[in-house]
Amino acid sequence: MSKPLIEIQGMTKVYGMGEATVHALAGVDMTVEKGEFVAIMGHSGSGKSTLMNILGCLDRPTAGAYIFDGRDVSRLSKNELAEVRNQKLGFIFQSFNLLPRLSALSNVMLPMLYNMEEDISDEDAEKRAAASLQAVGLGERLHHQPNQLSGGQQQRVAIARALVNNPPLILADEPTGNLDSRSSVEIMEILHHLHKHGATIVMVTHEPDIAEHAGRVVCVKDGKILSDGHEGNNPCLNKRMA
């Protein structure tokens, strides 16, 4: 078996000092294999956002190791983290975070702007962005601005943007949180499709029926992993159902 994509050992994250100390993460161990589709669930304040930020290399843990794609990224400098985000991570946000007044194509081209590995020419960048939009079914809407697109379409642009640098990991933070149920289904179908074709996806959600799509549900509470797996007794799933 190949090496896991994500290996977290004894990860803690402490905010504040002295008496006001908050342990957002209190010793988390977690492994994600390549090709997995993992949902992270938990209440607000459970630590799932902190975990997601560290997984996304937007933040560094206070202690513990984070081996990502064979490299310990827990102690990297800010510039090195920026490079990891650019090369190895694709972000999908709840609120899409597209730049208004830029076309879908220009939005998808953004990650290539910051690609230090290869200097991508304008034509290549456009081609790759167009191909990426094609892949999410927006080949006809390359030059639409975000406000000319529905919520579901905007999130598809965001997915195209996440894919454009071919990252090994897709991080989705409540990807359907701002969408109606029909668009949610659409987006989940795309994520399923990506997963089937080998993508590794880690998704934060608080909706059990969305979490059901993932092959594995990690339940976080009080900065610790409460359960990990897809058994019927998963507290995060049960609680919602009850």
Binding site: N79, A82, N97, L110, L113
Partner: protein, 403 residues
């Protein structure tokens, strides 16, 4: 991230808000334009002054009674002029001048009120580089024997006789009948003096007919113009005149009752005045550039706040702090350089308009364009840096959370 790409990103950022970007540059536009206009106006003024002073005559040394010294106005006599002419080495001629009160001039049935009468010695046209257009100037002999002759300024000749020749005609200046023997060339206004609107008489007739009733005597002179025979001899001539007049007036050369000036001295005085004026204008222009810079900083700070999420997103997508810094710094620099460019255009155009319609002589100072442009660039960097650092030090997690 390649510089070219950051540049394009910055440009796109500005183009998203064209009206605001334009308004932001207004301060710099006005500042740069005023720097150029003001420098060109003051350069034009200086050029005009220099031209006028040179029109007084080349290599000219001006000897006049010291102003503000009691009695000094009484001491400079026509004899002093003759003494200079005879004894000073290195001169090409002298012209003593005296002007009584303005007189009524009548001729050809026309009466002109309040005309300036100037008594001069015979060498006046040579010394003052002011030629006779028709007829001749009076000779030293005519001056000495108080011949009743007059040379008209071009304007007076035209006013009295129109297009017919005034030569040989008789006119009355005050109560004195004089024969017109010459007309001067048109010279126009020089240092506020209308040379064409005066009549020129032998100085001795002026002493006799116009000054004799004055209590302080009739052979004092207002100014002695001395023409040096070369530029190099001017210092020596000045020294000789100072020594000669000090001796004649029985005063110490260090505390004379007269002044000896060259055109350069007068130009220097005038330039000191315009330099003070120009410095003031430079301050005004500098302040408006400063205000323009503060305007840019202001808008850039607003822009950073408004675009916090954008910054967070760019960071999430892999932008490093330096990429963000450069993007916002370049936005500020583009704004100020664009302002500088438009300002240079408006300044140059404004200078031409001032010159054409503003009744002012203007001369665009070539150095002012790179100066103003450079100032705009420095302002963009200086005032853009702080907002850019604010953008660069944003935490991506916080920035993405911001509404």
């Amino acid at each position: 991230m390649k510089f070219k790409k950051v540049l394009r990103t910055a440009w796109e950022g500005l183009m998203l808000n064209k009206v605001r970007s334009f308004l932001t540059t207004l301060g710099v536009i006005i500042g740069v334009a005023s720097v150029i206009v003001m420098l060109s106006v003051s350069a034009g003024t200086e050029a005009a002054i220099a031209e006028q002073i040179n029109a007084l005559g080349a290599n000219l040394i001006i000897v006049s009674p010291m102003r503000g010294v009691p009695g000094a106005g009484r001491t400079m006599m026509i004899a002093d002029a003759y003494a200079i002419e005879e004894q000073v080495v290195g001169i090409d001629g002298i012209s003593a001048e005296q002007g009584p009160a303005p007189q009524i001039v009548k001729g050809n049935g026309i009466t002109l009120e309040s005309i300036a009468v100037i008594g001069t010695t015979a060498d006046f046209p040579n010394v003052r580089d002011y030629a006779v257009a028709s007829g001749a100037y009076f000779t030293a002999d005519e001056d000495e024997r108080k011949a009743k002759v007059v040379v008209l300024g071009a304007g007076i000749a035209k006013d009295l006789f129109g297009d017919t020749s005034p030569l040989g005609q008789t006119i009355t200046v005050g109560t004195v009948k004089l024969t017109v023997i010459g007309v001067m060339e048109a010279k126009g206004m020089v240092s506020d003096v209308d040379y064409d609107g005066r009549v020129y008489l032998p100085i001795n007739i002026v002493f006799q007919k116009f000054m004799s009733e004055m209590p302080i005597g009739g052979d004092r002179v207002r100014t002695i113009y001395v023409k040096a025979d070369s530029q190099e001899n001017i210092p020596s001539v000045i020294t000789q005149i100072t020594a000669l007049l000090s001796e004649r007036h029985d005063v110490s050369p260090s505390q004379p009752d007269f002044t000896v000036q060259t055109q350069q001295d007068i130009i220097a005085t005038q330039e000191a005045t315009t330099a003070a004026f120009r410095d003031l204008l430079a301050w005004v222009a500098g302040v408006s550039l400063l205000v323009g810079g503060i305007g840019i900083m202001n808008i850039m700070l607003v822009s950073v706040t408004e675009r916090t999420r954008e910054i967070g997103l760019r960071q999430a997508l892999g932008a490093r702090a330096s990429d963000v810094l450069l993007q916002f710094l370049l936005e500020a620099v583009i704004l100020s350089l664009a302002g500088g460019l438009v300002g240079v255009g408006m300044g140059v155009g404004g200078s031409y308009l001032f010159g054409m319609f503003g009744g002012m002589q203007t001369a665009i100072v070539p150095g002012s364009i790179p100066l103003a442009f450079g100032a705009a660039a420095v302002i963009g960097i200086f005032f853009g840096y702080y907002p850019a650092t604010q953008a660069a030090k944003l935490d991506p997690i916080e920035a993405l959370r911001r509404e």
